[in-house]
Each structure stands twice: as C-alpha cells, then as structure tokens.
C-alpha cells in the first residue's frame, strides 16, 4: 500500500511539475504547481511527518501558490507568451536528466539503503526542544528575520495613512 501511494504521488509530482512549466495557459501552470506542492506534502505524510506536511500545505499552497496565482492574474497574458526558450530547452532537459542520474548514482552507492528506521516517528515536541536547546542561534536569526518582515509590513500598511 505505501508503495502504491508513493508511486501515485511520484507520478503526480513529476507530471504536474512538467505541466507547470509547459502549460500554454499560465493559470493552469500555477494550479499544477499548487498540486505538485501538495503531492510533496503527501510524501511527508508517507514519511510519518504530518507536522511537516501540514506546514508544507500552509506555507506553499496557502501562501506561495496563492501569491503566484495573484501575480499571474495581474500581469497581461501577452507578456508571458513572448518568452521564447528555443533550442536551449533541449539543453535544459538533458542537463536536468544528467543531474538526476548523477544524484541517483550517488544515492545508490551511499549507505542510505542500509539505514533502518526506528519505527517511532519524531514528534514535533522533540523538534521544539531541539530548536531551543541545540539550534538556538538559528532560531534567534529566524525570529529577527520574522520581526524585520513584520515591521516592514506594518510600515507599508501605515504609509497610506500619511499620504
């Protein structure tokens, strides 16, 4: 059963990723991108990490995909159609395949295959404990970044009033 789910999710992710790039209608591209990001969330659920999966959906589908759709709606269609890739497309595809092949070889030769999962999923409480004990510096930087963006948003919101 997990194998079947994995196959379905993998096919869905790759198909929608290709569709996101190749679709003529840019809105369909944005929708396929959202579906692709959701199938990534499906992978996280398969890995017994619902916490990460839910955040994947909240951040990528709820915020990133919405912002992309929003931008797409506000830009004229002709501007998107003008972008011609030409012969470089083949180079890109071959390059991508080569990189994927190289990564595959690397993974096959690594010791990843012999790692045995403990069976217990890591609870998000442990993630939280690790965050404030071992990785406190990263947490601090993240907090500063969030505070800066929040102050920026508030400033932007207040500019209207002064005009």
């Amino acid at each position: 059963m997990p194998e079947l789910a994995f196959t379905v999710l993998a096919v869905m992710a790759i198909a929608t990723a290709i569709l996101a790039l190749e679709s003529k209608e840019i809105v369909y591209g944005a929708i396929s991108l959202a579906i692709m990001l959701m199938s990534i969330a499906g992978f996280f659920i398969l890995l017994d990490a619902p916490f990460v999966a839910m955040f994947q959906i909240i951040v990528y589908v709820g915020a990133v995909a919405v912002i992309i759709l929003f931008t797409v709606m506000l830009v004229r269609r002709e501007k998107w159609l003008k972008a011609e890739v030409g012969g470089l497309q083949m180079v890109g595809i071959l390059g991508g395949l080569a990189v994927a092949f190289a990564f595959g070889l690397l993974l096959l030769q690594s010791t990843l295959g012999s790692v045995v999962a403990s069976g217990e999923a890591v609870s998000f409480f442990e993630i939280g404990v690790q965050m404030i004990s071992e990785y406190w510096a990263a947490l601090l930087v993240l907090a500063l970044l969030l505070a800066a963006s929040l102050i920026g948003a508030l400033t932007l919101a207040r500019i209207d009033k002064e005009e």
Binding site: V27, I31, A34, P50, F51, M54, F55, I57, I58, V61, G62, A63, A65, V66, L69, F70, M73, S123, F124, L150, A153, L154, A157, R158, D160, K161
Partner: protein
Amino acid sequence: MSEIRTFPDFVKRLVIVVGGLVILLVVLFGVLVNTVPVVSEFNDVLLASLSNPGVMLAYLDSLGVGLNSTIFRIVVFPGFTWAALIAAEVIWFERKFLAKMQLRVGPLYAGVIAGILQPIADMIKLLFKELTAPARADKLVFYSIPLLLNAIGAALLAVLPVSEAWIIMRSDVSMLVVFAVIGFAPITVLLAGWASNSKFPFIGALRGLHQMIAFEIPMLIAALSVVLLAGTLDLVNIVQAQSSIWFIVLMPMGAIVFFCCLLAELERIPFDLPEAESEIVMGYQTEYSSMAFGNLQLGVYIRFYAMAGIFTTLFLGGWHGPMILPAGFEIANQVEWFTLKTLLVMVFMIVLRGVNPRFRMDQLLRFGWARLLVLAFVNLFLAILILQMGWFP
C-alpha cells in the same frame, strides 16, 4: 394531471410521485425477497428489528456501516449530512431573522410554520433550473469550483470534536490541519472569479484574495496563543484543557481578534466586500446558476458551521457544559452543548450582519494589517504572561 400553481400543489404532486415510487419499490422488493438470498436476509433483519432495533444496528455493523464505523461518521453524523442539515436550516433562520430585524416578513409559505421548509423548496427549484455558463468561461475550472468549495468546507468537519466520542479523525496536529484547509479558500475564490471570465466575478475574487490573505495571519497568531496555553495542537486536548475555565475568559482580546478574522474569512457583513450585492452583483458567485449555485451556497454555509465550530472549540470550551440531560447520556449532553454553542456563535454573526454597514476596501485592509495583527501579538504576549505567572492551572 393538473397544472402546478402553488406550493401546496407542488407538494401534492411530489407526494404522488414519491408515493408511486415507494409502491413500485415495495412490489420489486416482494419479488426479490423470494429469489435473491441477500435480500431475503435483509428482509429477516428488517422484520426482526421491528420489535428490537438492536438487530438492525448489529446487522449494519457486520456490513461495516454501523454507528461506530468511519463511513457513518463521515457521511452521516458529525460529518456531511449533519452539517448540510444545519447549513440548510441556518439559511432559513438567517433569512427569517434578518427579515424580523428589518421589519419585513421573510419566508412565509413553504412549510407550515414560518416558512421553515424554504431552503428545501429553494433546493428543489435550483435542481430544476438550467445550468448555464458564460460562453468564454473555462468550463473545467468553472464547474469544479462549487465541488472544491464544498470539499474545503467539509474537510474542516473531519477534525471538529463534536464530543469526546464523536470525532471523525483525531490527530496530533489537527489545529494545523484546520489552517491548511483554510489556506485553500483564497485559491478557490480566485479561480472561481478567473474561470467565469466576467468582470464582476473577477473584481470580487481579487477582493476576496486581498481580504483572506490579510486576515489569515492575525487568525493564526490568535490561535497560537490558545495553543501556547493548552500546550498542544490537538483540538480534543485543547477542549479538555478548558474543563475548568474557557479561553475566552482568559484571553478576551484573542477571542475578539479570532472572531473578526472569522467574519472576514467567511466574507460576512461587515467584511462582505467579495460579494457586495450593491456594488458587484454577487462577487465571484455571479455567473453560477442552478445547482452549481446551490452547491456553492451549501459549501459556504457548511464552512460557516465548521468555522463557528472551531471558534467554539478554541475559545468557548467545546463540549463542556453543565449536565442537563439525565445520567447515562453524557455523550449526548456533550453533543448538545457543542451544537448549542456553535449555533449561538452563528446567530451572533447573523445579528452582526443585520446591524452593520459594509467596510471600504482600504478600511478593511488597514483594520486587518495595522489593528488586528498588532492586537493579536499583544494577546500572544499576554498569553505568555499568563503562562509564566502560572495563572492558568
């Protein structure tokens, strides 16, 4: 047969048609009982259950669709049918109550008491109307939006703890599930407006998008303070943490912020800019007709019920309440308190709709980003203070 002119005529015709069908089915059943073994077994169970209903329940349990099965929970009780029934009657109540507030009469004819069957009559009317779409609409997206909106409303029901025993899916992270599902709403609204390929829906969709993004963040932070106090992301544990004192008493500010964000997410007055009737007809729902519109409305009202239920869960103590039913009915008591509180929240939202004008777009955005966000953060710090001082047991 005679022409149908009034609603009673219509009901008579309906009774004739349905009655004929029932008689036909009974005859068919009588023939099948003697030929197909499965049907004759069902017949035995049916006859036995006339004197002892437990037989029927046991038989359904053996088929995997009994009262304790997940399918029953999804389809019937805390799930879709229950929510759809509440949604239909809330539509009636909203129309009647608003009419009373505005010194009108409201629904009157359908149903014997005060037009109580009006939503059913409306649904039957919608079923028989023509399904139309604008000529240049994107048909695939256009017709899938009502179902999608229904789905994201009903998905919230999965984690809604109606009582300790009646919950479809219990999860460690059900609070995050709620916010993940809420995150789909802007996409649905935007696509509805885009696929209609029409001016008013598109303006409505862009307004809806602005509004939902602006109010999602203070909503998340207000809910975060609840998570801090309860120390869990599980909605069942959050309700259990409120057994002695409700969070609305500890954090009234957080409850107000969350409530305002709920109103904005549900696009209800005073934040109903995406479907402002006097400006843009019906917003992103303008081009929908027939049962597509019916589905859209059903989705909106199921979402209304589910979000009110989440407010009840987070701030009003969920299923907790004094025991008013006789002993032995503890679970029924919990269900009744949860439903009562949820309905009260919904009634309060409808009262607000009756007495408030509509915000302007810039007022709305400033209210969201510059007021509610700040208040949500202040509330978060107050929650940390309550936790540090040990005021919450």
